[in-house]
């Protein structure tokens, strides 16, 4: 029998790290595929504040979705990492896909380039 993976204990809400130990985000949701006459299958992990807030209340999720549409143009769907990239769970979730290949940090990159880097001292050479 294959090893059991307690999804809520070892995957949901955990920090996702790429092979370089870069932080991708937290596991805000787990996507399951429902199959006729067979157990559901985990297909992806989702990184989206709207998903996380929807777990508190539906309206909070809608509000987060509205904010994302307003401030993260081009992000029509929440970033997902296919479960085939899952390496291990525990207190951190490790995946074998690089942070740069996901869209999870798209807004951070935009914010860094378009806003923060334009404030004096926001982008400096060398160490801080």
């Amino acid at each position: 029998m294959a090893d059991l993976l307690p999804l809520v204990r070892d995957v949901l809400d955990k920090q996702i790290l790429d092979p370089e130990d870069q932080k991708i985000g937290k596991v805000d949701g787990i996507v399951l595929a429902l199959r006729a006459n067979r157990p559901p299958r985990v297909t992806a992990i989702e990184i989206s504040q709207a998903t996380a807030w929807r777990r508190v209340h539906r309206r909070l999720g809608d509000l987060a979705d509205w904010l994302r549409a307003r401030f993260e143009p081009g992000q029509d769907r929440p970033p997902r990492i296919l479960f085939e990239h899952f390496v291990s769970g525990g207190i951190d979730v490790r995946v074998d896909v690089s942070c740069n290949r996901t869209r999870a940090r798209a807004w951070e990159d935009w914010l860094g380039e378009q806003v923060i880097a334009k404030i004096p001292g926001g982008r400096r050479d060398g160490k801080k």
């Binding site: 949901l12 809400d13 955990k14 920090q15 996702i16 870069q22 932080k23 991708i24 985000g25 937290k26 805000d28 990184i47 504040q49 996380a52 807030w53 777990r55 508190v56 525990g90 207190i91 940090r105 807004w107 951070e108 990159d109 914010l111 860094g112 380039e113 806003v115 923060i116 880097a117 404030i119 001292g121 926001g122 982008r123 400096r124 160490k127 801080k128």
Partner: protein, 400 residues
């Protein structure tokens, strides 16, 4: 030096506008009688700080990380919303505290200093590293030893001091007595301090071999803050309480150092207030950014250049001017401080309770989990925190 993290946490989270205000109030109104509240609170805070540091040493996760991961997003969302509200209010009180310190020295209306203080605060976090913040506050914080020197100079009746360390009920004005007691505990149990301390341990890359040092840091750092706070109570009791002066403003509290230091007394008080509040303001601003970043799994470190952890930088860049504006709108920083200390007490159980679960989690702590004694002690702190949270608002109405 690791102890610097304890001292900076102590100066920021322990010895801030809240601790100075509540200690001064306690001394002026009830003499030495409330020293026991400080002593009991210090022991609890040492215990909690050590646990937060140990969690970070073993798991390299902070309290905010672990609360989200183990208690789920729903629980974390309560902590996030509560802490953001309280932290922003306390941050406005701390910025106000620095502005009042500048007012005490210059005589200019403190509100003119609010934007200048807010800008200086943002600039230091924007360009500084964790080391600069930690060592700067620890070094400048030594000025607060003026209160200890003041006590030694005046020579208090030591039997009264020792008597004050034994729990006792008030002979008069009990609603006010217990309101100030809750304020003192609220000022000690500041939730932001616990997360800041664990985030600092991760920033400094503490590991299992640092566990003994963490213990020493928690005891010495919090002990330092406690020594100063106890000295403020004694100074306030001997110089303000005996002359019937009630502390309604920081200007009145500043008089406590006039007897030992003469004309240097007020500037020295202003320096102590300014450094303590500025240290706390740095800590709260960073903690707000830590809280969001760790809760949502963003990149975070005070040592990264702002464009490398843009969301982290955005949080403190928005929080600082907002808090300064709030401070100007709400007015009297002393009132904001005493009110927000009661809110701190209300929020404390939300962060203290998960420690009971986390410190027994073998995935995080491995063989460094709490023993029986640790669990009994933290359970007692949780019960105390819940009881204080229950009475905080009624006492705010009756005695505030």
């Amino acid at each position: 030096m690791n102890v610097a993290l304890g001292i900076v946490s102590s100066i920021g989270g322990f010895l801030d506008a809240g601790a100075i205000a509540t200690a001064a109030l306690a001394g002026a109104a009830f003499g030495m009688q409330m020293l026991w509240v400080l002593v009991a609170g210090t022991v609890c805070v040492m215990l909690l700080t050590e646990m937060c540091g140990r969690l970070a040493c073993v798991s390299h996760h902070t309290i905010a990380d672990a609360v989200r991961e183990r208690c789920g997003f729903r629980y974390f969302s309560f902590l996030l919303v509560g802490e953001v509200c309280v932290d922003v209010l306390v941050l406005s009180a701390e910025i106000g505290g620095v502005a009042i310190a500048l007012h005490l020295v210059t005589g200019i209306d403190y509100r003119w200093f609010m934007p200048i203080v807010a800008f200086a605060l943002w600039l230091i976090i924007w360009v500084g590293t964790f080391d600069i913040i930690e060592n700067g506050v620890s070094f400048l914080g030594l000025v607060t030893l003026a209160f200890v020197v003041g006590v030694w100079w005046i020579g208090p009746p030591w039997h009264e001091v020792l008597k004050g360390m034994i729990p006792s009920a008030p002979a008069h004005d009990s609603a006010r007595y217990w309101f100030i007691a809750v304020g003192i505990i609220g000022a000690l149990f500041e939730p932001f301090m616990l997360n800041f301390y664990s985030a600092g341990a991760v920033e400094e890359k503490w590991s299992i071999k640092d566990i003994p040092m963490n213990r020493v840091t928690a005891v010495l750092g919090m002990g330092f803050g406690s020594l100063i706070a106890i000295s403020i109570v004694i100074m306030s009791a001997l110089t303000l309480g005996t002359h019937g002066i009630q502390v309604d403003s920081y200007e009145q509290a500043a008089l406590m150092l006039v007897q030992p230091f003469g004309s240097w007394g007020v500037p020295l008080f202003a320096a102590c207030l300014g450094v303590a509040c500025f240290g706390a303001a740095q800590q709260i601003s960073l903690n707000l950014a830590y809280l969001f970043s760790q809760g949502f799994g963003w990149n975070w470190s005070e040592n990264l250049k702002p464009h490398e952890d843009a969301r982290f930088a955005l949080v403190y860049t928005l929080a600082i001017p907002f808090a300064a504006l709030l401070g100007v709108v709400l007015g009297d920083p002393l009132q904001i401080t005493t009110f927000s200390m009661a809110l701190n007490a209300l929020l404390a159980p939300v962060i203290v309770f998960p420690l009971l679960i986390l410190m027994n989690d073998r995935h995080y702590l491995r063989e460094h989990r709490n023993g029986v004694v640790g669990n009994v002690l933290v359970s007692a702190v949780v019960v105390i925190a819940f009881l204080i949270a229950l009475v905080a608002i009624p006492l705010e109405i009756l005695g505030g």
